[in-house]
Amino acid sequence: MDSVESLEFAIQVDKLNSWYGDFQALFDVDLEVKKGSVTSLIGPSGCGKSTLLRSINRINERLGSYTRISGTIRILDHDILDESVDLSQLRKRVGMVFQRPNPLPLSIRDNVLFAHRIHGSSKNLSKREEERILEDSLRTVLLWDDVKDRLGRDARGLSLEAQQKLCIARLIPLKPSVILMDEPTSALDPKGTEALEQMIWTLAGEYTILIVTHNMAQARRASTESAFMLLGKLVEKQNTGDLFLNPIHQQTADYIEGRYG
């Protein structure tokens, strides 16, 4: 426990290569993400941001043997690509928020408590305990006041912004070390985007957040560090301010100035 407290990085990716069939999507990617920070991942479409993110909670393995991976990924100093790793435990520690809000076809309450119930060691958690967790989680994502009167309603009836907040709220009961977000605001309107960004900020510190975004303004606003990817390679990572003002690589500068679109 002590060593975890003193760790500097929550995620350490080392020489990560990834393939879809014969197509190589990632080339020797090295990335270290500071604990408790918000780090954004930027780069043009198809450069492998999602692939990298989806390797970190190993959700890409859903595609079967068609995807391969080599290299190491360490979460809080645990090698998560090791054979002995239990995917369920890994995903308990590493939460993910997807591009399109994907609430489960359940009530708002059951959505928030879903992961909690799955991972609950004791089957009969008291109702009161559950209600407390429910309220805490929804308050954390600033959704409680909106939905407190309709917790039994189908979550798919909420606005997209509320759905995406709910998708974050359902991670909170697990107290994940890392939250991966893959363009979490791309389905939202500008107002929703702003609201969600502000909310993400409140989570920093307690959670380590790695967020993919196409929106550079968002990266600048929302993150402490930024990493730029191009064609499956990680080009550079710096403090957000430095990356946008004094990029080391020409490619980064070109992208920031909008030459790749």
Binding site: N57, I59, R62, G64, L87, S88, Q89, L90, R91, K92, G95, M96, F98, R100, N102, P103, L104, P105, L106, F114, A115, I118, H119, D154, R156, C167, R170, L171, L174
Partner: protein
């Protein structure tokens, strides 16, 4: 594309090229086939009800018809038309079949849709389709020549034709259809629900039982209903395996007689227009109504599912 057309229309509004004629031709063809299909259905329905309902007026007694178990239509001195035993025969065979087929088909559908992958899935699907393609006489034959001696041996009973035999055969017949429909219902659950649940750390089982099954609930109910409808309407296999004797059963080894089998076995030997003939048509209406209600319910249940 759109503007092209507009220009053409403006230039010569009354051009009737071959495409125009083909178009008209097929429009009319479709109209004619559609109308004649509806007309046919209505006339079939009319024919059946005309024959069947006339029975309601003359020798018919509501009480006797539904509450008596004496089906003796050929008796000269004292004919009796009680269908209770036939209804119970059909219900017990179908019920027994569903007892076997529902859990089996649901498990098969879950396995094919959620757990099997690649080659295994394809092979299983082909197998299920093959099973569905076996004609009902063949099933009846299997019941007669394999199940019958097997049941006699295993349970030490004098006859192996009855609810047990018929139920097993009917269950095997209904299972492929139910499996296919249930699998379709599971497949229709969007994959992002599974992905979302897996990303939260749910195991395959948890994903299946907590997310996929509830989401596919209506489709699964429809699959079961259609299976019941199938069992209800099945004739040949039941005729061959149920023993076909009028009986209020008390054990699964008792032989029974089904509604459908009664019509099939007796209709050819009745005089057109006789009381017996019309009584059989009344049975037909009853069957039709029950299957209609079952299928309609299945339909409504599925529609309810699509509202989201």
């Amino acid at each position: 594309m759109n503007s092209d057309k507009k220009v053409l229309v403006c230039q010569d509004m009354d051009v009737r090229d071959s495409a125009w004629y083909w178009d008209k031709f097929f429009q009319i063809l479709m109209l004619v086939s559609g109308v004649s299909a509806i007309f046919l259905i209505i006339s079939i329905f009319f024919f059946i009800t005309k024959e069947g309902f006339s029975f309601f007026f003359e020798p018919f007694s509501f009480r006797e018809f539904f509450l008596s178990s004496v089906w003796r239509p050929t008796s000269l001195s004292n004919p009796s038309y009680g269908i209770l035993a036939l209804v119970i025969g059909t219900a017990s065979v179908t019920g027994f079949a569903m007892l076997l087929a529902v859990p089996f088909s649901l498990c098969a559908a879950i396995f094919i849709s959620e757990f099997a992958s690649g080659r295994v899935r394809e092979v299983l699907k082909v197998l299920v389709e093959l099973l569905a393609a076996i004609p009902s006489v063949v099933w009846g034959f299997i019941g007669l020549s394999i199940m019958n001696p097997l049941i006699i041996d295993l349970f030490d009973v004098p006859v192996g034709l009855g609810i047990l035999n018929s139920g097993i055969i009917l269950g095997l017949m209904a299972a492929p259809i139910m499996t296919t429909i249930a699998e379709d219902a599971l497949k229709a659950v969007p994959d992002h629900y599974r992905e979302a649940a897996e990303a939260l750390g749910a195991t395959k089982w948890q994903v299946t039982f907590r997310v996929v099954l509830p989401a596919a609930k209506n489709g699964l109910v429809a699959a079961i209903l259609l299976g019941i409808g199938r069992g209800f309407g099945e004739t040949m296999a039941v005729l061959m395996t149920s023993g076909h004797s009028i009986n209020l059963p008390t054990s699964p080894f008792d032989s029974v007689r089904a509604l459908t089998a009664t019509i099939a076995a007796e209709l050819g030997e009745t005089a057109v227009g006789s009381d017996h003939y019309r009584a059989l048509f009344t049975l037909g209406i009853l069957l039709f109504l029950v299957t209609f209600v079952i299928n309609l319910t299945a339909d409504i249940v599925v529609k309810g599912n699509k509202r989201h």
